[in-house]
């Protein structure tokens, strides 16, 4: 088992798995077994939900047997012998994530702060020629939480478990997570009280740095001079990520900008 993050670059290319061979991927708490059989792919997976688990390994071919006690085993069948190639791609979650700072933040008037959060990834298993999405698996079964003004209005999100921080190095490099950056600019005359931050994962792209770590699109949030909140703007233009490789695009495209509002905030008087 390795914790060498640079090995994560292996996801950039498709894998070849001839008939009769198995593949085993260990990606943090997630364990995936893939089997290529005549006219079928077999996918089994399980997750320990141990969010401290930083292990990473990919064995293809894997010699051994698929453990019987896995959470799921699905057989994907074809009418003819299927292509040997498949792609395993890390993607961002299907719901937003909510992160909390250790204690609520007060963004002072005229200040711009960068907040960094760490969100767990999903893994997508796809075949090529013909294209089929076989699985879309969460690496970690994150607890769910509610993000909204009241119990009547809001949305169900995942909780990140790991606190939001102001300095990126404070986040421990975990291979199965992506680092998400939010810039909060407070142009108003009052301090901005930030208790929780929503990362709108389905609307963000996923990039990989040269070091192997994953990053999401950057988010910018502006509180205007008159105190009105502008919705978050997502930066995922290629020039902003020149030193990174795009791994997967957003799951959804923004139709309603209100869905992106990342803060559960109150104005505080300092």
């Amino acid at each position: 088992m390795s914790e060498n993050i640079s090995e994560l670059k292996v996801f950039r290319d498709p894998f070849e798995l001839p008939v009769g061979q198995l593949l085993h991927l260990r990606f943090g708490p997630l364990s995936v077994y893939l089997g290529h059989f005549y006219q079928e792919w077999r996918v089994s997976w399980t997750t320990t939900n141990d969010y401290m688990d930083n292990s990473f390994s990919l064995k293809a071919p894997f010699v051994g047997e698929i453990p019987a006690e896995l959470m799921s085993m699905v057989r994907y069948t074809y009418s003819r012998p299927c292509n040997h190639f498949l792609k395993i791609t890390p993607v961002l979650g299907d719901r937003p994530f909510v992160a909390k700072p250790t204690k609520p933040l007060m963004v002072l008037p005229g200040e711009t702060v960068q907040v960094f959060m760490s969100i767990p990834l999903f893994v997508r298993i796809e075949t090529e020629d013909p294209y089929h999405l076989l699985e879309d698996i969460p690496v970690l079964q994150s607890p769910r939480t509610w993000f909204g003004d009241s119990t009547v209005q809001g949305e169900i999100c995942y909780s990140t478990k790991i606190k939001a921080v102001l300095n990126e190095p404070e986040l421990i490099n975990r291979p199965y997570r992506a680092i998400s950056q939010l810039a909060i600019e407070n142009r108003s005359q009052r301090a901005l009280h930030v208790e929780r931050i929503k990362v709108p994962a389905p609307f963000l792209s996923l990039f990989q740095g040269d070091n192997g770590l994953f990053y999401t699109s950057i988010m910018n949030f502006v509180c205007d001079l008159d105190g009105t909140i502008r919705n978050v703007e997502i930066e995922d233009q290629e020039e902003k990520f020149a030193d990174k490789v795009l791994i997967s695009g957003p799951r959804q495209f923004v139709k309603d900008k209100n869905l992106l509002n990342p803060l559960n905030y109150l104005f505080g008087q300092i």
Binding site: W146, T151, G154, I156, S159
Partner: protein, 266 residues
């Protein structure tokens, strides 16, 4: 035979029959076309309830229009028919008070929309998923997979509980413990269970309330939030977890202690 048919086709009656036939066919096609358009239009928004209402409205309106046109073709005097219909409607109104009441209630329900198709509701002691909302009655599929028809009038008159309206719900558990149990211990135990139950939401925060100080027990209310769609799973799994945790941590349940003193009367 041929001569007979030819003479019949030439008659006014044959023309009228053909016209009636043509009108009925046209209205039937129009009704199907309109139904398809409504289905397509509301498919985008995924609103089955609105789709159902507009389909019914269009169907009955076209039907009424077709009847009027057919009667006109057949040469019926509309004034006489309308007069007769007025008298008839009074008679039918008396005879079918309940149906009319259900019909009006149905229209109110369709526009007020206290619930929609697919919601889980409780009405008149029946709890289940709403399958249809028709003009006279609604159909509910109970948890035991039985079909219950509830007249719309009943729905309008009684209290309806909609369990699906909001995306999250609170599950309240009321239980009693002995005075000897530390409240902080029990609170942290329950919060730990919430953290490990996949159907519990982290936020809104769970409610922990001592709601009654009894003679020999404390009554506690613990409320935990979960997604509405997983509510039954939350109820079941949390109860199981609580039972196991209480046994494991030897949480004393309240017992009445009676001290019997035996005195020697001699």
């Amino acid at each position: 035979m041929n001569a007979y048919i030819t003479s019949l086709l030439g008659t006014e009656l044959a023309l009228k029959v053909a016209a009636v036939f043509l009108v009925l066919i046209s209205f039937f096609i129009l009704s199907r076309l309109l139904s398809l358009i409504i289905r397509f239009f509301f498919k985008e928004g995924g609103n089955r309830q609105k789709q159902l209402v507009w389909r019914k409205i269009s169907k009955y309106t076209l039907f009424a229009l077709a009847v009027v046109i057919v009667l006109q073709i057949l040469g019926a005097d509309m004034n006489v028919i309308l007069g007769a219909a007025g008298v008839l409607s009074i008679a039918v109104g008396f005879a079918a008070q309940t149906s009319v009441s259900n019909l009006i209630s149905g229209l109110f329900l369709m526009f007020e929309r206290p619930f929609v198709i697919g919601d889980v509701i409780e009405v008149s002691g029946v709890r289940g998923e709403v399958l249809t909302i028709d003009l006279l009655s609604m159909r509910i599929r109970t948890m035991e997979n039985t079909l219950v028809r509830v007249p719309n009038e009943t729905v309008m008159k009684t209290q309806v509980v909609n369990y699906s309206h909001f995306p999250i719900r609170r599950h309240d558990i009321v239980f009693s413990v002995s005075y000897t149990v530390g409240l902080n211990d029990i609170k942290s135990l329950l919060l730990n269970l919430v953290e490990h139950n996949p159907y519990c939401l982290e936020e809104p925060e769970p409610l922990f309330l001592v709601q009654k100080v009894g003679e020999y027990f404390l009554e506690i209310k613990f409320g935990v939030w979960g997604e509405t769609k997983n509510f039954l799973l939350l109820q079941s799994t949390f109860a199981e977890q609580m039972r196991e945790a209480f046994i494991q941590h030897k949480i004393a349940l309240p017992q009445r202690h009676v001290h019997v003193e035996q005195r020697n009367l001699e």
